[in-house]
C-alpha cells in the first residue's frame, strides 16, 4: 500500500478506540498510539494492491462496524456445544470481550507448573515482563491496515505462557464467539513457549448468529529453543461475516511448530500466516484446508521464511471449492542467503466442484542459498475419473463415489488435527458439506 491517504471508512472503524482504558504496560499504550497513527495513514486495500490482487474486499466498506457496546451475557448452556471434550483450560471471548464466567481456571497441576492462561488485561507484573519483548513485535503493522487496526484496539486478549520444560497435556481452547451484527471485534493472542516446553492451542472462531460482522485477529506465537507448539485454527464464522487474520510465528533453535488451519466460514476471509525460522534446526509444518461454497471467498497468504541453515518446512494447503466460491492461495517460501541445507516442500491442491468455482494459486519460491532442497507444486482439478470408476465398479453409486472422494480430499488435512474430539466433529462437518445427492 504505497499511496497514503486518509480513509474515512477506516476512521469510522477507529470509533470507540479512544475510550479504551490505559494499560499499566507503557509499551501497550505506545503500541496503540502508533497503530492509530498507522491506521490514519493507511487505507483499505484494493485489487490494485499486489497483495490483494484476487481479493476484492470492497463489500466490507459498504457496511459500518463498531466495537460491541454491550456484551451479551451468555449462559454456559448456549455455548457449551462449542467446548472440547478434552480441554479443561479455556478462554472465552464474546464479540471480542473476555467472558470470565465461561472461561475456566487452570487445573491445580498446571498451576503448580506456573503455566499462564489468562486475559491479557489481567496479566501480573511478572507476566508483563515476559510479554514486553514479544507483544506487537512479531506482527508488523506498518503496512498492514488490519493488523494496525487490531493493534489500535489492543486491550483484552488471550495470553499463554508455558514455562521452561513444561509440557501442557490438554489442549488450551481459545474460543471467540460472535453474537451480534455489525460488530467489529479485534481478537488478540500471544503465546510464548519457553525453552523445551510443549503446548497445543486451539484458536476457534465461531458464531451464534448468521450475522454480518467483522472479526479482525492478530496472533503472535513465539517458540524458544526446542519448544513444540501445535496450533489449530478453526474459522467457522458466519457466512455473512468478514474475517481478517494475521498470525506471526517465530521459531528459535530446534523448535517445532505445527499448524492446521481450517477455513469454513465468512463471506470474505483473509488469513496471513508468517512463519520465521530464526535459528538452526527449526521445523515448521503448516497444513490448511479451505472448504467453501456459494459466494464465499477465502484467501490464504502464507510466508515461510528460512533465515538460518538446517531448517525444515513442510506445507500442504488444500481447497475444496463449491458453487461460485473463490479461493486464493499465495504461498511464499523464502530461503535467505546463508540458509544452507534448507529442506522445504510446499503443495497446494485444489478441488473445483463446479465450473463456476474458482481458484487463484500462486506458489512463490525465493531462494538465495545454493545448497537447498525445495519442492513445490500446485494442482487444480476435478475428481479423478479412474478413482470414480474404481469405486463404481464395486457397486458404489456415482454420487456416493464423488462424495467419498471429496470427503477424503478434505479428511487428509482434518486427520492431522491433534485433538480427537475436534477431529471427529470436523469430519462430520466436512462429510455434511461434501455430500450431495
Amino acid at each position: 500500500m504505497s499511496i497514503v491517504t486518509s480513509d474515512s471508512y477506516l476512521k469510522s472503524l477507529l470509533h470507540g478506540q479512544s475510550q479504551l482504558s490505559m494499560s499499566p504496560l507503557e509499551r501497550l499504550n505506545q503500541l496503540r498510539a502508533n497503530a492509530v497513527d498507522r491506521v490514519s495513514a493507511l487505507r483499505i486495500p484494493t485489487k490494485n494492491d499486489e497483495e490483494w490482487r484476487f481479493t476484492d474486499i470492497s463489500p466490507l466498506t459498504k457496511i459500518s462496524f463498531q466495537p460491541v457496546r454491550m456484551a451479551s451475557p451468555l449462559q454456559s448452556s448456549s455455548v457449551e456445544h462449542f467446548y472440547l471434550a478434552e480441554t479443561v483450560t479455556r478462554l472465552v471471548f464474546i464479540d471480542g470481550v473476555y467472558a470470565p464466567n465461561l472461561s475456566t481456571q487452570l487445573s491445580e497441576t498446571s498451576k503448580d507448573s506456573n503455566v499462564v492462561v489468562s486475559n491479557l488485561l489481567a496479566a501480573t507484573s511478572e507476566n508483563l515482563a515476559a510479554i514486553e519483548p514479544h507483544l506487537g513485535r512479531h506482527t508488523d503493522f506498518q503496512d498492514n491496515v488490519f493488523a494496525a487496526l487490531n493493534t489500535a484496539f489492543l486491550h483484552e486478549g488471550a495470553l499463554i505462557i508455558v514455562p521452561r520444560n513444561v509440557s501442557v497435556e490438554m489442549p488450551v481452547h481459545l474460543l471467540f464467539i460472535a453474537t451480534q451484527k455489525e460488530v467489529a471485534s479485534h481478537p488478540r493472542c500471544l503465546l510464548i513457549a519457553e525453552p523445551s516446553s510443549t503446548v497445543t492451542v486451539l484458536e476457534d472462531y465461531v458464531t451464534l448468529q448468521e450475522e454480518t460482522y467483522i472479526t479482525n485477529t492478530v496472533t503472535e506465537i513465539v517458540l524458544a529453543d526446542n519448544a513444540t507448539v501445535n496450533h489449530v485454527r478453526i474459522q467457522r464464522d458466519s457466512k455473512q461475516s468478514f474475517h481478517m487474520a494475521n498470525c506471526s510465528v517465530s521459531l528459535a533453535r530446534a523448535s517445532r511448530y505445527h499448524s492446521v488451519s481450517i477455513t469454513l466460514g465468512a463471506r470474505i476471509s483473509r488469513y496471513n500466516l508468517n512463519v520465521q525460522l530464526k535459528d538452526e534446526g527449526a521445523e515448521c509444518a503448516a497444513d490448511g484446508l479451505a472448504l467453501i461454497s456459494n459466494h464465499q471467498l477465502a484467501d490464504t497468504h502464507t510466508c515461510i521464511d528460512h533465515t538460518k541453515p538446517h531448517c525444515t518446512s513442510r506445507q500442504l494447503h488444500k481447497c475444496i471449492i463449491d458453487d461460485a466460491a473463490h479461493a486464493v492461495f499465495n504461498g511464499k517460501i523464502m530461503v535467505r542467503p546463508g540458509a544452507q541445507l534448507t529442506n522445504s516442500t510446499q503443495s497446494n491442491r485444489n478441488l473445483l466442484l463446479t465450473s463456476k468455482a474458482r481458484i487463484d494459486t500462486k506458489p512463490q519460491l525465493e531462494i538465495f542459498a545454493n545448497d537447498v532442497k525445495c519442492a513445490h507444486g500446485a494442482t487444480v482439478g476435478q475428481l479423478d475419473n479412474e478413482e470414480i470408476f474404481y469405486l463404481r465398479s464395486r457397486g458404489l453409486s456415482e454420487v456416493t463415489a464423488r462424495n467419498l472422494l471429496t470427503y477424503a480430499f478434505g479428511a487428509e488435512i482434518i486427520d492431522r488435527i491433534p485433538i480427537a474430539s475436534l477431529k471427529f466433529r470436523l469430519e462430520q462437518t466436512v462429510l455434511e458439506q461434501t455430500q450431495k445427492n
Partner: protein, 262 residues
C-alpha cells in the same frame, strides 16, 4: 467346471469398441456358463484389459458394435455400479490408489451395497470388522491394511490380494481377474489362487486374464481363449495354455477364429 445343465451367464457377440477413435476390440465372441472357468491369454496390447474394462463399463471405451447379455439382460445399458450390483466383478490389472479413503470404510460401503442388493442386512463397523478379518485370514493379509488408504503405497502383490478380498466380500456371479497373477511371488500366487478356487462354485464363473500359464497350474481353466488384435482367435481346453507356453503366441493359427464355449 463344466456342467451339462448350467445356464449361460455372459454372452458376448461380435463386440467392437474404440478408445479415442482407435478401434481396439474387433468382434469378440464369448459365451460363459455358470460353473465355468475361462482363461483369456494373448500378447501385450492384444486388447485383454480393454475387453475387461468394457465389460465393467468404463466410460473411456465406446461400444461401436455387437452385444453383451448378462443373465439375459443387456449389460451395455447398465452403469458400472449397476453391473457390479448385478454381479460383475473386475479385478483390476492396476488397482487404483485412493488416498484419504480408509480401506475398511471402502470395503464396508461396497459390502453393504451388495448386501442391499441381496436383500440382506447391512453390517455395522464392528460386525463388518469381524467378517473382513476372517476373509483376510484366508488371503494371509495383515489386518493393518484395513486402516490404510485404499491401495495407497501397497505393493503390487498387496494390491492384488486386496482385489481378491473385495471379490470375496462381493461374491459376484462373474469375476474377471485381469492379470491378478502379475507381481505375485510364488507363495502369494498360491494364496491368491486358493482364494479364487474357494470362491468358484456351480453358480458363478471366473474369467482369468493372463499371459502366462503359471497361474493356470493353480486355477485350472475349462476353456482357454487366445486373443489377438482385438479378437479371440483360438479356443481350446486347458492344454492350449501349455501349448502356448511351449510354442509362443506366433504358433496360434490366426486364420480360423473360433467361437468360445460350447
Amino acid at each position: 467346471m463344466i456342467y451339462q445343465d448350467s445356464k449361460v451367464l455372459l454372452e458376448v457377440r461380435e463386440l467392437c469398441a474404440t478408445v479415442n477413435g482407435i478401434t481396439i476390440l474387433k468382434g469378440i465372441n464369448l459365451t460363459v456358463k455358470s460353473g465355468e472357468i475361462h482363461a483369456i491369454m494373448g500378447t501385450n496390447g492384444s486388447g485383454k484389459s480393454t475387453f475387461a474394462k468394457v465389460i465393467a463399463g468404463h466410460a473411456d471405451y465406446e461400444i461401436t458394435g455387437g452385444t453383451v447379455d448378462f443373465e439375459g439382460k443387456n449389460l451395455l445399458d447398465l452403469a458400472p455400479e449397476e453391473r457390479a450390483r448385478a454381479g460383475i466383478f473386475l479385478g483390476f490389472q492396476y488397482p487404483i490408489e485412493i488416498p484419504g479413503v480408509a480401506n475398511n470404510q471402502f470395503l464396508r460401503l461396497a459390502y453393504n451395497t451388495a448386501q442391499i442388493q441381496r436383500n440382506k442386512d447391512e453390517l455395522d463397523p464392528l460386525e463388518f470388522d469381524d467378517l473382513v478379518r476372517e476373509k483376510m485370514k484366508l488371503l494371509e493379509m495383515n489386518p493393518d491394511f484395513l486402516d490404510r488408504s485404499v491401495n495407497e503405497n501397497f505393493s503390487g502383490g498387496e494390491k492384488k490380494r486386496n482385489e481378491i478380498l473385495q471379490m470375496s466380500l462381493l461374491d459376484p456371479r462373474i469375476a474377471i481377474l485381469d492379470e491378478t497373477d502379475s507381481g505375485l511371488d510364488i507363495d502369494a500366487l498360491r494364496i491368491v489362487a486358493n482364494g479364487v478356487n474357494q470362491l468358484a462354485n456351480k453358480g458363478n464363473a471366473t474369467i482369468l486374464v493372463t499371459h502366462y500359464q503359471r497361474m493356470l497350474n493353480y486355477i485350472v481353466p475349462d476353456y482357454v481363449h487366445v486373443m489377438e488384435s482385438g479378437r479371440i482367435v483360438k479356443t481350446g481346453g486347458k492344454e492350449l495354455a501349455l501349448d502356448l507356453e511351449k510354442h509362443g503366441y506366433d504358433w496360434v493359427n490366426v486364420e480360423q477364429p473360433t467361437t468360445a464355449g460350447t
